[in-house]
Symmetry: D3
Subunit: 263 residues, 6 copies
């Protein structure tokens, strides 16, 4: 019988907790390591709606990228979103595991999947932090190349490849050739990306002053959305988990799509 | 149908949250205010064994003195005592409410019950912090008088009245006449008790240096145990809740006795 | 001869510094109060390009919304954006004044202008902080009403009224009737807006988790862009300054448009 | 002529200051290193009564385990216990030396003496911090074995061996075979003791929640008193000092017995 | 019999502790309030040499301006100046009282005496903090007027009146008419003095950058020495104490002169 | 064409930034590294008057010891000294470089020049921090020897050699033989100097309690003024810069003399 702990052990081989940021919260955040697992659901976030979907689907383990608990709660009640999610999980007999910044950083993780989804070539880690057990460099961001093209062509490509509703961007006045990617909110890494020699940066949750910083630096900056840039990792997680635990059904959340629309 | 919120509202009339210490955590710490209540269990602590007993008894609300959550948890798992307790509660469909330092301080609370159990006369609040809605002074400690007696007689009385396994004490070299009481760990209030003119102080969890401080000050200090000095409030809570909600069975935990033995 | 100090004095009557947030930096941040003013330029931000434009235009005073200095600099050199802006200003003989969160909060300021630009009726301050010298309530956000309409109609109206390249939004599943506005990055005020009873909130720089919070709360949340929601105040500032100092030419920056594009 | 400094130098060879906790205060805390020593008194604590006894006994050096000064005083007056003790010492021409957590941790120190007094076999340091000059491991706690016996038999043994007035304890439901010891207030080390594989822990100043933690972990926890668990080191100190300084009389305080009684 | 506490009570009527700075340490810092007083010595500082002089003179109370203890000591030994002073006092049976910033601020205190010694007319408190029991304003600095004179004449007057070895000064390029005084290290109050409209400031321990600040502000700044500007209060204290306690000899330290020489 | 950056590079070879204190601010603090340099002015401080002198002299680079910016400014206006200095520099087209504690510490820096100016023999670094690229020890203070002489003779020598207006000092009761030097405010290093075995310490900005500490320790302490002890390095800087950049005129500020006078 496979247990929650065994699934966690596997996840920690592909996203070692030692790669996480110091402020982050990863691993088994709800439930019991000794619980038997008969069905796994994978989703980007453990929102209440996703927890409800997992319960309805009969899953006993929810694996997500974002953590269930960020700010440690003084009470677990239905007055807060995190309280409602925890109540749903425990009432549904569901444990919850997540891999967040460790999954961003690990080889084959969020940002390698994003680079692959965008078809980047010659992908490498920007400013690697160290090497993993297999000797591969790891770190937050990735860079790679595309056939040189006008920014507008690349915008079209990003929107199509990631299935975005829309993009926000500033032009740095350059053609696109060397592209950096950072799924989710990586706008604060703009200077590092610029110093690495990239002409284009794809990330999300970009703020007004970061768009202007890019304009001043002369680098193309594309906000492709938090969900579109990170969600591709979920399908990969489903496949990896299914391969590692062939006897357990592993499903992707259907409820969890992007909520942000463009007009 | 009575809800958890209605029970909480009642408890807050007898132990207003505004009387709690700033570091304390009180109120609804687990579950849902809108949940219907069909059975209430009362206990001093929400230990895992008590949560299990409540589940077996079919209670849907656990009312305790000590809080379920002190240090806000980064994960709710069975690797920690608080995690196991929360899992038991939520799996059992049980909400948890507590009144801690507000119950210590309120008129008719922990320390008034302790004073009454010891048969003190002319009971008053030591250094009142304010007055409650009814105009009664409130604060942490109580003082009252007994017929003047040798310390040994009073020790016998305390042990019998509170049902203690044993007592630890130092003699201040005085007969017992004016007694201060502070249920639980109130040893750090020794100086305040001394300044109030009491000759004897009954509290619990007294440390080595506090026993010596009492010796130097010349005040009788009696450690009657954390459980024996606070638990009397639970039976009173059962009665008050039963009177306020006559249609709901209110029971006292049977599992939760004192664990500390003397040899 | 009008001096920089006289212009500052006037600005402080319409945006009292006492209304600013404690972390903010407003007033005369560069130059000299005694400097004569012969031409004023107004712009949303004191970016280097704007400072250069002011110099070329022969302005000796730049009035902006955002402050020239946020993080106090340890050096004033052309290695940083703020350094380059300061060097441009001083070399060009230009003083710099700004009104930031005080201009957001003041009656007739950023958010009243935004509400007016959107044509809101019955505009009031949400949770006023106090009253100004004229007895009018002030505070960060505004709310007002529109003729009840589907969200899509309101999106069209916002885009047209503010001249936005595009909008990002989530639907709360409600028609639009009571609208809250907060120019710039006010997403963290979402809960306050919801509690005030509004069905729709127009602000900018909204993050992924804030869009989801709105979805969960069931409130329409529209990110109309930092520049489009704040820039309308600049034209009003030009008019007010021109009226107060009729002998001095007051011009609006032409260089400073929004840099963010949509695809 | 032997000086205070020479006695301190000797004490630091048996209890190196480098072994102390960072918050601790050890060494010469009152008087003068150059003072000639003609008589030494040893006691567990430098209470005022002990300082008075030392003065009456004609001692010019007081050696204790607990420090004279914990919280650095803003005034040295007879309004405080520490002030009265310092006044007694200086008026009596007595210097004061102590070794506290360094004496707890050192090979042959407080906890080795406690283990020996309890007759433990195969004694070793739990989780050693390092090795001393002689290559011996050092650290706070010790563990050792006894002939397997029921808890009640071991309670009898502890009470007799340490001369305790009484014991407080919880049963972990196990026979006694592998025993950890930590003189004084070491209840917070319970988890470490449990992880080391011991079935029984002897320490002091145990609090209510620590007794319950032991109950939940299933480990026998015995509070044998602060004085009874630490005082055995004093007689050993007397012997060692007498051997090192045969020409100086070294005496044990007679005034300093345990103040805590049981009923 | 007069006690130390009675002398302290008197000192607190002329220099209320409520006037002290929050970081300051005043009152009875060594000894015992119940000690009978047969002789009082007054000095600016409780240096070791002064404590020795007090012991030789048979004083049992030392009254100073500067506190015996600034940084609370972790040990009272002859390895430090403060340790040696405390050892001298206690061995000599001498209690120590001080009034520091409360004596600076109080009407009739350090700075009023300094103003009087310099012969200032129309003396008032600069920026009073409050009023004392008699309704008189109090605060740190004093200002007053002299007959208008060249700086050089005033320098001669200061040196003579205070008996200084030498003066350090910068000229602000102004004649002397309105003079501020702050005994001891008040150089950081320069801006406040300037804003009060004074042309000249007499204080001590002035640093390089403060001299330059005065040069830039155009204010005459005179460093007349810490001892010369504060010591005049000691003779006044002797007189006041002698009047209040006519039966007790009150003497001024003879050992404590200024150590600083000029070349 | 020589640029500001090239001059900075040279200065960093003689005063490596790695030698500075952690709280210090050194390097290019105003202007632009790419600016061509046609004239350099050197001065101890970048006071407004010095910046004005540099502008009048046609200098485009000001090199000083003290930093232009200590406390990072929230505004650059003529309301503050640092604001006026920055405005003067930028309006005059002048960049500003400084080397502060790195110049104090480096071999051949402030304190080696001071030692040489005083004619000390066998000069060495007191408690070296490390070695520089050339293998020479570096650190804050220097010590060296003079022919043994009475303090008064040495006072005469110091006053003459440094051109002081006056000296302040205390005698330690010793002849002068081994002298420590620390230009500027090094009084807090007194204990370190004493422990190094010196009989005499020359520094500046000495405070009352430091003079007394020296008296108690029995060490001659001479306050020779901040300017006189540090300014000698400026002439050396002029020479070194002139040698390194022979084509650029390098001049010493004439305006910047000492402002402190003695009476």
């Amino acid at each position: 019988m496979t247990t929650v702990q065994q699934v966690l052990d596997y996840i920690e081989t592909i996203a070692p907790p030692s790669m996480k940021e110091s402020w982050d919260n990863v691993g088994l955040l709800c439930g019991s390591g000794s619980q038997p697992v008969t069905k796994i659901m994978v989703a980007l976030d453990p929102f209440e709606r996703v927890c409800a979907e997992a319960a309805e689907a009969g899953a006993d383990l929810l694996v997500t990228h974002h953590p269930l608990i960020f700010q440690a709660p003084k009470a677990i009640t239905d007055d807060t979103g995190v309280g409602r999610a925890i109540l749903r999980l425990i009432r549904g007999g569901i444990s919850a595991i997540n891999a967040h910044t460790n999954l961003d950083c690990t080889p084959g993780g969020v940002n390698d999947i994003l680079a692959a989804t965008l078809g980047l070539a010659d992908v490498s880690v920007i400013d690697p932090v160290g090497t993993d057990a297999a000797g591969q460099p790891w770190g937050l961001l990735r860079q790679g190349t595309v056939t040189e093209q006008p920014l507008e062509d690349f915008l079209h490509h990003v929107k199509t490849a990631l299935g975005c509703e829309g993009l926000r961007f500033v032009s740095g006045g350059k053609a696109v050739r060397r592209v950096a990617v950072g799924g989710g909110s990586c706008g604060s890494e703009l200077r590092q990306v610029f110093d690495s020699g990239c002409d284009t940066f794809v990330t999300a949750d970009v703020k007004y002053n970061q768009f202007w910083d890019a304009t001043e630096l002369g680098i193309n900056l594309i906000d492709a959305g938090h969900f579109p840039t990170e969600n591709p990792v979920c399908a990969v997680l489903v496949k990896k988990l299914q391969a590692a635990f062939p006897e357990i059904p592993v499903v992707l959340s259907k409820n969890h799509t992007d909520c942000v629309k463009f007009y």
